[in-house]
């Protein structure tokens, strides 16, 4: 067992995945956590606290009843993974599966429209002089330059392990949603 398991002793619940050292298959949790409790390096109360923290959100989100089953296993993506093509009907899928978006019965509240409005509403204007924005109707020429001017030239899986991106950045990491098609391009 690697020592000391500092993150567990302080405040960490099992929410940041990863091995003790990369790709070693080793972990601070599971049998090693049992060992740490038995040899006294991790207090049992810490384990109980971890369980309370995890189960609290689990119950808050009502995952104990009528909740969509886990349908993907990142360690076995081609085996247990239930692949869903979200490109064609993402908003319909969200509508059917996320109860909190029941307001989607109103066409203007369809998730993709809500997402579009949130995207615009959260945009921050840092500078605007000489009436630059909004763009006027008298504009004759617009040049669109830069790597975010269109979708990735290689598609969502164009770089190994999402280790790159040459198109619009719409989400964190480099895994871009497959349905993104900027109207700007």
């Amino acid at each position: 067992l690697p020592s000391p398991p500092t993150p567990i002793l302080t405040a960490r619940t099992p929410r940041q995945p990863g091995d003790v050292t990369f790709n070693s298959g080793s972990t601070y949790f599971g049998a090693n956590l049992t060992l740490a409790v038995n040899n006294g390096s991790v207090p049992l109360d810490r384990v109980k606290d971890m369980a309370v923290r995890i189960l609290s959100s689990w119950f808050l989100l009502e995952q104990n009843r009528d909740f969509p089953a886990t349908n993907f296993d990142s360690w076995d993506p081609l085996g247990k993974g239930e692949h869903i093509d979200v490109r064609a009907d993402h908003h319909e899928y969200v509508r059917a599966n996320v109860r909190s978006l029941a307001v989607a019965d109103s066409p203007s509240r369809l998730p993709y429209r809500v997402i579009r409005e949130i995207g615009a509403a959260s945009t921050v204007l840092l500078k605007n002089v000489n009436g630059a924005l909004p763009l006027g109707r008298d504009l004759k020429t617009i040049a669109l330059i830069g790597n975010a001017a269109g979708p990735s030239s290689k598609g969502p899986n164009g770089y190994a392990d999402r280790g790159g991106l040459d198109g619009v950045l719409s989400e964190g990491y480099v895994a871009q949603p497959t349905g993104v098609q900027p109207a700007l391009c």
């Binding site: 993150p7 940041q16 995945p17 990863g18 091995d19 003790v20 050292t21 990369f22 601070y28 993709y112 997402i115 579009r116 409005e117 949130i118 995207g119 615009a120 509403a121 959260s122 945009t123 921050v124 204007l125 840092l126 500078k127 605007n128 002089v129 000489n130 630059a132 924005l133 909004p134 763009l135 008298d138 504009l139 004759k140 020429t141 617009i142 040049a143 669109l144 330059i145 830069g146 790597n147 975010a148 001017a149 999402r162 280790g163 991106l165 198109g167 619009v168 950045l169 719409s170 989400e171 964190g172 990491y173 949603p177 349905g179 993104v180 098609q181 900027p182 109207a183 700007l184 391009c185």
Partner: protein
């Protein structure tokens, strides 16, 4: 007759906590290993902005970024607008068109301060030594982080959370 140049700038990779060996540590993008560890635009983004602004009197810069980046070109007279669109999600393009066209007047606020220069920030990422030993952090700055630091020390910034502008559209 007016012309405008929309310059879209992309900045990569969020910063993740490193309490455990993180799956992205082995990924290198633009010489950056793992999580983002600088505040500059990647892929020669600053050079691109300055090259375009040098040749176009009406340049709008759109920043797609996971967090703050330094904008050394912010006061360039040919850069007439800077739009921070963050990570706008699956409708990123449509949302941006709504803002640029005036269909939607953005009222977003920054959740962080953009400094004029790197050294103006009071804190720094603790880069772990190869042994991955944990670094003792004393948080001596107390609550004077981000905009509170800039206000307390009277450091001017390029943009801050309490500032906002309107397209008037």
């Amino acid at each position: 007759v007016r012309s405008v140049c929309l310059l879209t700038l992309l900045v990569e990779l969020p910063r993740l906590t490193h309490h455990f060996s993180c799956p992205v540590e082995y990924i290198v993008v633009d010489s950056n290993e793992g999580d983002r560890n600088n505040l500059t635009a990647w892929m020669d983004g600053d050079k691109m902005v300055e090259a375009v602004a040098a040749n176009n009197a009406n340049t709008v810069v759109i920043v797609q970024s996971v967090g703050p980046i330094l904008m050394p070109w912010a006061d360039h007279p040919n850069i007439t607008a800077i739009v921070y669109s963050g990570l706008a999600g699956q409708e990123a393009g449509n949302s941006l068109v709504d803002v640029l066209s005036g269909a939607y007047s953005p009222a977003g606020r920054l959740p962080f301060t953009i400094a004029k220069q790197f050294d103006d920030y009071p804190t720094m990422i603790p880069f772990y030594p190869p042994s991955k030993e944990y670094v003792q952090i004393d948080y001596s700055e107390k609550l004077e982080i981000d905009y509170r630091h800039f206000q307390a020390k009277s450091v001017s910034s390029a943009a801050a959370p309490h500032q906002s502008r309107s397209t008037g559209g």
